[in-house]
């Protein structure tokens, strides 16, 4: 089954949870007992409609306040595809959760309340979609029922977003505009009878027809070694396999590869997956590889195709999204995790804060606060094997960890 991972983003009360509840309901993904629970709760609260947000808001505090705090993962499928929705909170203080939910998404849905149009939150959501370079973005203009299904309203919002897109650095993004009413069900799964002027697909139909290419399939082959497998049994006495996941293109038996960072050359001798051997491993498969030569390979090393080498560097220029209450400041030290590789990093320079409302940058700030995005320079304790984020998402990103709390405090996108 093909899997499409979608991130959703919207402001408070844009009806995001309602939209997801509606999709689940209309695709018959809500089971009877869950539906009964929603009916009962809705009645208890005195609503005369089904409050679908109750299907996704899982924490007590969320239900109490009627808001979404943390990323929730929701699963449903249609005959053609499996979908994973990462439902992310819209509040400004949860920008970090939005980045988290959207990092591996192949597509994203940005919700806009048709009554309010483009608001500050919309800028931020749109900005993050661009920063993460999400290929397919749906602008879902919701609550059309409350603006008399007005085509004019729809066109105004569409125009504003298109203007934003024209200012964005990432030009490869496909934007799709869909007017809908999550509450009433217009254009979610079934076409709307109230908006005959709209000729495009319904939301679900559109999602079903999107490509399910993994975010890394188009990039150069990277094989970061997670662990070395040495069974030390009689049968596999000399077996020395390098276990990891293939990112990007294929790897084949007999292929010449370079082991990094040592730059040793060798050839792929065998490719194992469980108790079988294969001649080829595609992007996305978790395999075990043996080499022709007895070279020294350990966790954090990388196998790549000859002439497709990443940059080996002890210095990084990156855009970073800060996710911790303790602000980032120049000269601070953190642990860095880049893929499966670990090291230490010192912030040598905090050059700017990037305004997420597309209004420019603030130069030479003293600190980067929670939920802010900025450009930094890092000095590393050991060389890392990196690609620019725009060429390779997995190998072009990293996280920073606070050595005092062990918390993940920032996510970086390598320039």
């Amino acid at each position: 089954m093909k899997v499409l991972k979608i991130a959703t983003a919207g402001s408070v009360d844009d009806g995001k949870s309602t939209l997801i509840g509606r999709i689940l309901y209309d695709t018959k993904s809500l089971t009877d007992d869950k539906l009964e629970a929603i009916e009962e709760k809705s009645k208890q609260r005195g609503f005369d409609y089904l409050d679908f947000s109750l299907a996704t808001d899982g924490l007590v505090a969320e239900r109490e306040q009627g808001i979404t705090i943390d990323v929730a993962h929701i699963y449903f499928s249609t005959p053609s595809k499996s979908f994973i929705i990462a439902d992310t909170p819209g509040h400004i203080e949860y920008t970090r959760n939005m980045v988290t939910g959207a990092s591996t998404a192949q597509a994203s849905i940005v919700l806009i309340d048709a009554r309010n149009g483009v608001v500050e939150q919309t800028y931020r959501h749109f900005f993050i979609n661009n920063l993460l370079r999400i290929k397919d973005v749906v602008i879902a203009i919701n609550k059309m029922d409350l603006v008399d299904y007005s085509e004019e309203k729809y066109n105004i919002i569409k125009g504003e977003i298109e203007y934003l897109a024209s200012k964005s650095e990432y030009k490869g993004q496909n934007l799709t505009f869909i007017p809908l009413s999550a509450l009433k069900g217009d254009n979610v799964v079934d076409p709307s009878e109230n908006m005959s002027w709209y000729k495009g697909s319904t939301l679900l139909h559109h999602l079903e027809n999107l490509e399910t290419q993994h975010i890394n399939d188009a990039s150069q082959t990277r094989f970061p070694v997670q662990t070395v497998i040495r069974p030390k049994t009689n049968e596999y006495h000399d077996f020395r396999g390098y276990a990891g996941k293939v990112y990007g293109g294929d790897l084949e038996i007999g292929e010449e590869i370079t082991v990094l960072p040592s730059k040793t050359r060798s050839k792929i001798k065998s490719i194992h997956f469980f108790d079988k051997e294969y001649t080829k491993a595609k992007s996305g498969s978790s395999v075990t590889i043996t080499l022709e030569d007895n070279v020294n390979v350990s966790r954090g090393d990388m196998l790549v195709k000859v002439a497709q080498e990443p940059t080996i560097t002890k210095q990084l220029d990156a855009t970073i999204c800060w996710m911790d209450k303790d602000p980032l400041q120049a000269s601070q030290k953190y642990y860095i995790k880049h893929g499966v590789n670990d090291g230490q990093a010192k912030v040598t320079y905090l050059s700017s804060i990037i305004k997420t409302d597309f209004s420019g940058i603030e130069e030479n700030p003293s600190a980067l606060e929670l939920n802010q995005i900025g450009d930094i320079q890092l000095k590393l304790s050991k060389p890392l094997l990196v690609d620019p984020y725009k060429e390779n998402k997995s190998n072009g990103s990293f996280i920073l960890i606070n050595p005092k709390t062990n918390n993940t405090v920032g996510v970086g996108f390598i320039k």
């Binding site: 924490l59 007590v60 591996t104 993994h214 996941k245 108790d275 491993a281 995790k337 990103s397 996510v411």
Partner: protein, 311 residues
């Protein structure tokens, strides 16, 4: 594409078919082995933990699974599950650690519930935390899935717990791309959920595809049962409290989820083999945890248990 298919045939090539969920789970297992000193796989004998065992085998083959299995036995488990558990551990050549809730009841550390809805489900937490401390486990791998329950939908793949096993749901570490941050302080541990992104149907389809053996109670069989609150309870054993007016009837049932006997209800079913079970799950209109008596206690039953250190 057809041309790669033809090329594969001509070249006699064999390409691994990518299964994104399987691949992700294997990746997670390898991260656990690489990042932690003393991991353990929480094994209940249920379908999810059996699936975990197969994935762990795949992650490290031809080496053995590099950590032990831990079972917290409530003493109220289905005999079929216990028999299955012992046999599987033996076949794998992996150490099986069993810790009993009964020991904590006997020593007076925990008090057993009484009455109609008495269950030892909640008592497992204490025994689990004791075992974590006894062995110094720093990573406990479990079979929880995000589609099971609302609070679980918010769970991370690497979920940090403090000395008391508590889950701080408002302060979870962001998980971006594939990067899993397993750094912890002494005394803390991480709960790891490799099949977070699987649905119930994914698990059953995988069991079918891989031809994995599971305990017989998952298939339709005749069993002595009684009905309470619209659910079918097993009356085959003494451990479940039953009123005299609750009539015992033999029914054709199977278990869709397996906790212990005091917290798991059966479903009427004719699905006697894995193909029929997969079909049944696909067409089901009731969620899996709809048959979990422990979840019916309150709207936030799972969230509360998790905060206290439950699986």
């Amino acid at each position: 594409m057809w041309f790669t298919y033809i090329k594969d045939m001509i070249m006699n090539q064999k390409t691994i078919q990518v299964d994104a969920l399987e691949s992700e789970a294997i990746y997670i297992f390898r991260e656990v082995q690489a990042q932690f000193e003393k991991p353990v796989l929480l094994f209940s004998g249920g379908k999810d933990s059996i699936t975990l065992v197969r994935l762990a085998q795949k992650a490290f083959y031809p080496a053995k699974i590099p950590f032990p299995l831990l079972h917290i036995d409530t003493g109220h488990n289905f005999p079929e599950t216990i028999e299955f558990r012992d046999r599987l551990a033996k076949e794998l050549g992996v150490e099986l650690i069993v810790r009993n809730v009964q020991d904590n009841i006997d020593s007076g550390r925990v008090k057993e519930e009484s009455g109609r809805y008495a269950s030892r489900n909640m008592l497992q937490t204490e025994t689990l935390l004791d075992a974590i401390e006894e062995f110094g486990f720093d990573a406990c791998i479990g079979g929880a899935r995000r589609d099971e329950e609302k609070a679980r939908a918010k769970e991370r793949i690497f979920s940090v717990r403090d000395d008391f096993g508590q889950w701080d749901e408002k302060n979870q570490r962001p998980e971006v791309f594939d990067m899993l941050n397993g750094r912890i302080d002494l005394g803390q541990n991480v709960r790891v959920f490799p099949i977070s992104n699987w649905t119930e149907l994914d698990v059953w389809s995988y069991i079918k595809q891989e031809n994995i053996e599971i305990p017989s109670i998952y298939f339709a069989h005749k069993r002595k049962t009684f009905v309470r609150d619209g659910m079918i309870w097993s009356a085959a054993d003494e451990v479940v409290y039953r009123d005299e007016e609750e009539e015992v009837v033999e029914r054709m049932v199977r278990f869709r989820t397996v906790g212990d006997m005091s917290c798991t209800a059966a479903v009427l079913s004719e699905a006697v083999d894995i193909t029929k079970v997969v079909e049944e799950i696909r067409d089901s209109t009731i969620s899996e945890r709809g048959a979990r008596i422990d979840d019916k206690r309150s709207e936030a039953a799972m969230e509360k248990r998790k905060q206290q250190g439950y699986f």
